[in-house]
Amino acid sequence: MPDENSQEEIEVFPFIEGKIIDLVAPNSKWAELKCKWRNDPKVRQYSRNMWPRSLDDVKKSFETVPDGHRHTREHVGFIIYHKRDKRPIGDIGLNHIDWVSRNANIFAEIGEPEYWGKGIVGEAAQLVLKYAFTELNLHKIKAGVFTPNERSQRAAEKLGLNKEAVVKEAMYVDGKYHDIHKWGLTKEEWLKKNKILIHID
């Protein structure tokens, strides 16, 4: 059943267009929806939100930055918008952007579990990688996934990320310590892999 928040007509502004989904600019009218995703036990287990998030907390993330678009960000976030169903279903983006060493961490979350297992994160992440390398001119993208999150491990592998390291018992989730798998991909590797993809197409 579609979420009641998504029923409200909200004008969306696609920033990057995909096939099944678009990456659109966040809209503060989705704050409640985002807040639901952040707190949903099923969702947050994998995105590792250990603290309850109030709606006020979430609303803060929509506040404008002091210097508009000239402000150098450490974080760029998009809403994943399902084109056919016309509803926001999750978010994705880059955080911990290091502008000197030119790398960033990619994060993604599908907040509506009915859209899990449909390759949506794969498509969205591919768009974010392209954005990171060809628009932000970053050198490397990293991802950290903890062991039980098999779906994300598979997504990272499918995306062509390389598993670079396993950090032992680095994360305490649900009563247990888990290893964190560190994935990474440089722009050069991405360019090479992407060319191959284009040939197959």
């Binding site: 002091p66 210097d67 402000h71 150098t72 960000r73 450490e74 502008w99 000197v100 060493s101 001119n137």
Partner: protein, 191 residues
């Protein structure tokens, strides 16, 4: 009064680049108001001590877009000017360089040239920038010599762009790519 350390951040031969020092605020104000110094640095409005204090306030940008140095004369142990990497565009990896030697007795001693060289190296090798600019008044021959000695190319001229002492002057836009700078450095080593 004398500090135990002067906090050398980048070491040169004649000069070091050190952090700004809030105890030198009056000195900075003096330099930026000095008619001979300010003419080409385009300080058209009187610079107050309060204005100088702004440099020491925490920046509202989490990621710096401007980096200031004090130019420290090693032999005489004196601050003599300031240098700046400004307008850093972290997306495009570009920035502008600027500097003033506030004490005229140190002019003509290639100090500007050395300070520029140190800031260029910092911008490329530490900030990982791709291209740097310097906007220089056409009458400010000393400054363009100092840019050219460091490998900068005059990339553009903004016609009658700057009004100084009752006359319009062109502004030369000098630029230097990291790749060209690396090539120059290699050639120098071969020689």
């Amino acid at each position: 009064m004398a500090k135990k350390y002067n906090f050398t951040f980048i070491q040169g031969d004649i000069i070091d680049l050190v952090p700004l020092n809030s105890e030198h605020i009056n000195l900075y104000a003096k330099w930026k108001n000095n008619p001979n110094v300010r003419i080409y640095a385009r300080y058209i409005i009187p610079q107050t001590v309060e204005d100088m204090k702004k440099f020491f306030e925490p920046s509202k940008d989490k990621i710096k877009r401007e980096i200031n140095f004090e130019i420290w004369h090693k032999k005489t142990k004196k601050p003599i000017g300031t240098g700046i990497v400004s307008g850093i565009d972290w997306y495009g990896q570009t920035a502008s360089l600027g500097l003033i030697i506030g004490e005229p007795e140190y002019w003509g001693q290639k100090i500007g040239e050395e300070a520029t060289g140190l800031m260029v190296k910092y911008a490329f090798n530490e900030l990982n920038l791709y291209k740097i600019y310097a906007g220089i008044n056409s009458a400010n021959i000393g400054s363009w010599r100092c840019a050219e000695k460091n490998g900068f190319i005059r990339e553009a001229t903004f016609k009658k762009d700057s009004y100084v002492n009752g006359k319009y002057f062109d502004t030369y836009i000098y630029s230097l790519f990291k790749a060209d700078w690396l090539k120059l450095k290699k050639e120098k080593q071969v020689k």
